[in-house]
Amino acid sequence: MAHVLTTKGLIERAELEVNDIITEEENARVFATEWRHNGELVRRDVNVNILAGVQLAGEQETM
């Protein structure tokens, strides 16, 4: 049986309720996974996908 590391130590995967939450931010897509044991949040993972970086815009190549 697979176990998941939580705030309460290792808990069997089957005992956990799992919810995936996807949110869209201005420049990122966020994937959060919440793990609950008897209704209590015992683990939360987050992956942030940066969709695009930042750009420093200068003069045109031909002035």
Binding site: T6, T7, N27, A32, V48, L51, V54, G58
Partner: protein, 156 residues
Amino acid sequence: MANTQAICKSFRVDLLNGIHAFGTTVTRGGTSADSFKMALYLTTATINADTGAYTATGELAATGNYTAGGNAVTNGNAPSNSGGTGIVAFWTPSASVTWSNLTSSGSFDCALLYNDTNASDKAVAAFTFGTQSVTSGNFSLTMPTNDLSTGLIRIS
């Protein structure tokens, strides 16, 4: 042939490589690429375009497997450029920046990219991603595609 006034295409990449110094610069220890880090900041912090260097103010507390100063950025991509008239120089870390078994000391929404080789830990850019919290879990910042339209740092 004719001469044309222009910013040279190579100049943008040269900026990313620290080739030119129009003002007072620093003595470099070698020709290697600098080391960069990303630090995470609480939603109550003030990290923005005016941030000139890494600061511990407002950073996640050094608890729950977070280390002050943040984590190293994997730099396997040399700066490059592409495009025609609207050429863009760009650079992106070659891997995600990750924290394992992290419990954040509070809600956070920002990562600061800064130069860890520089004696003053000069800042590069701040990235926001909405309010997040992590509990005994993993946090990762997955980098965008390294090209002229989405690269993490772009100079046009």
